[in-house]
Amino acid sequence: MPISKSVGARIKRREDPRMIQGLAHYVDDIQLPNLLHVAILRSPYAHARINGINTDAAQNLSGVKSVVTGDDVKDVIGGIPCAATDPEGFPGIKVPHHPVLATGKVRFVGEPIVAVAATDAYIAQDALDLIEVDYEPLDAINSADAAFADGAPIIHEDWDDNMAFTWSIAGGDVDAAFAEADQVVSQRIDHQRLVPNPMETRGVVAQYLPGKDQLNLWSSTQIPHLLRTQISVMLGMAENHVRVIAPEVGGGFGCKLNVYAEEALLGHMAKYLVQPVKWIEGRRENFLHTIHGRDQTGDVELAVKNDGTILGLKYTVSADVGAYYQLLTPAIPTLTGLMLCGSYTFKNVQMNLTAAFTNKMATDAYRGAGRPEATYLIERMIDVVAHDLDLDPLEVRRKNFIGKDAFPYETGTAVAYDSGDYTAALDKALKMADYEALREQQAKLREEGRYLGIGFSTYVEICGMGPSAAMPAGGWESSTVRVDPTGKVTVLTGVSPHGQGQETTFAQLIADGLGVDIDDIRIIHGDTDTVQYGIGTFGSRATAVGGTAMVHAMGKVKDKVINIAAHLLESNPQDIVVEDNKYCVQGAPESGLTLGEIAMVAHVGVQLPEGTEPGLAESHFFEPPNFTYPFGTHIAVVEVDADTGEVEIQRYIAVDDCGNIINPLIVEGQVHGGIAQGVGQALYEEAIYDESGQMITGSFMDYALPKAHNFPRFELANTVTPSPVNPMGVKGVGEAGTIGSTPAIANAVIDALKPFGVRHIDLPLRPEKLWKLMQET
């Protein structure tokens, strides 16, 4: 299907046919001869000493090949890594050793203690039942407040308190701003703990080839190369003898941007058993031992003028980061700090964060990673300001917006917003919503005792992660573009798509750029033996950074193709154009050459211009000069049922600006999923640990995810403000929906309850909470 211009077209995802036909291969689809299955015994206690482990009966169970305890591996497998532990960035940081299997003490429910490998998964699971662990339960900590309380039990006994680290950021003159203010508007804001819940849980298959001293590790990961580096360090193997493969990955949302105990453990077991091993995470294990998101609670103060002008912001916050760090744990709240000013002009800002160890799973990157906290905080506070000053929340937004002529714009937190036009997105959304009519409808319904609410979120977020200077583990990206002798194009990309659709969007860019049919393009990713080193897929970076690396590599290929074409056509390179997928001299398309014809010449090597290397493959490593800053306006219209407290989302309007759009269908898909997850935080989701540190929301019976019937048909549109950071002018859209939607829904629900005098309610806005508030007033 030749398309004259692929970029910008609504092309269906090329990866979908294999997925909807059941032909995609995930980790659990991998079968190897003599494969052993691993099950893991996990702590039922949040905090306990281990006084002994008896594995005799498990070892004697028929079919069991190996039982591994923490003592067995403590000297052969290094600790689970954290990439953000610099004490200059995180004053006072404590970095506890994070073993793959607990020894001496367990610190959260779900912590791995013993691994069993057996001939099938059922035997492995049965063997766990035969293991006896002598626990001495200790008091547990289930919140940052509890961690800092006098006499709190100490989680890591190398230190004498549970303070994990501090972090702060300050810009402008906060004291002057507060001195100048007519009022100080304060509110305590809670960002509840969330479980990422990808459709595919984690899973690992490991195989050791003794003849080559090679470890092959298949993992459901977002970062195959970073994982390879870390696994080689943890296992003490040469990195070029470790191959990591991310096969089809069924969603990650940040939770697979990590290095987990099981990845190193399985690698070790495969090597010492010289037999392949497989572990597939159960859903209940996933709730307990795959990273969680958010879990910050803090006090916000805004210095404001009576006309709604915001002068400054102070945020004093504690983060409950769990018992250990995972790969990026301390870095996540720093992204909150960078984005505290939102879309607004105030530059006097200060955030002081204190993080606590608690007896919970670690927090880390979950879709949005630090920015949903910033956006929810500032967007919610704008509405609190409007409430306190009796202004329209729109008026407060408009009064404080950064103007479109101010870009590039340096914020009080010293980040440089690349481009933006916040008013344009807001105006477009208001027009779609017919705002005046909505307010009239709201007033009319209130007279009937019905509670309609209209909520805004005029967000800006930071994505397209790097540059490297601002990243804990590299912010660049890589690509190789090669053309086979027959003209088929293969792209190797360092990013690791797992639902973002780059097999389609990258092919669109190549199709247009090289003049080749999209069906002749293959995008390869996720295999460290095949693909040059890359950083991976997270932080809405794959297209903005990885796509740019590819476009540059493609440009090098194209230069060479044009040179060869000019030589063959006895012309000059500057006179060569691509028309109808043929390289021709301008004005003479009939004598044009296809990419395949030129590629054959490049590989036969005979007719090349003098000094030209044979072959047709080029690589590029791209270091972005800045982040990108997508923005937009989301408007939610909800009705809260006075009898039940239930929230019905009646309309959802989203105008997102992610710069130039390569494939509108994929952008819409990302926005749909993003909105759904953000609404999940607003209305339904909450990971709760009880006072004894038990996670009491550890299944889908207890942890509510949004479902399709919870949503109306989304009304989506875009404004397009290209980013100057990359040649495509793209920004990224993987997380914008999540970041934008939570405050829009919260503001709408609270607006609906305005007749009840409600000023703020903590998330999630579940019916019983709203119903009680409506009864009280």
Binding site: P44, Q694, D702
Partner: protein, 147 residues
């Protein structure tokens, strides 16, 4: 989790008390009880099969009766664990005459951990009520049958 309740047993207080601390009766009446054997002074070894929602498993451990004041009251401590978690509880059981019958009231505190704690938390109280109702219902039936 707090656990309280009242049940009526169709027997005198003395007879009801006898039944309540008779391991054979309890083994028959307790839902899912696979074993209940007297080990030492007031300490019984117990094995039960139980489950909430999809999390079902076998639990072993002990039940300890103490502060036994026939026929009025005793204290019971349950400490069992299994592959799907652990249950620790302690409570006071009191008996009082109610006409020709006996009213049993109990009040206790139960701690649940591990996988069973993570699943169906909102059903725990209901499941516990159901199990105690089954237990005392069965003891009542024994009492009436032997009357």
């Amino acid at each position: 989790m707090k656990l309280t309740g009242k049940h009526t047993i169709g027997a005198t207080v003395e007879r009801a008390f006898e039944l309540l601390i008779d391991p054979e009766v309890l083994a028959r009446c307790m839902p899912g009880c696979d074993k209940l054997e007297h080990r030492a002074d007031g300490v019984y070894d117990m094995a039960v099969s139980a489950g909430i929602g999809p999390v079902r498993g076998k639990y072993t451990g002990s039940v300890t009766l103490s502060d036994i004041q026939p026929p009025e009251r005793y204290t019971m401590v349950v400490d069992i664990k299994g592959t799907t978690g652990f249950v620790k509880g302690q409570g006071v059981v009191e008996l009082a005459p109610e006409g020709e019958n006996t009213q049993i009231s109990f009040e206790g505190d139960v701690q649940i951990g591990g996988p069973i704690a993570a699943v169906g938390q909102r059903m725990h109280a209901g499941a516990a009520r159901l199990m105690t109702r089954q237990l005392f219902g069965a003891i009542d039936a024994e009492a009436r049958a032997s009357a």
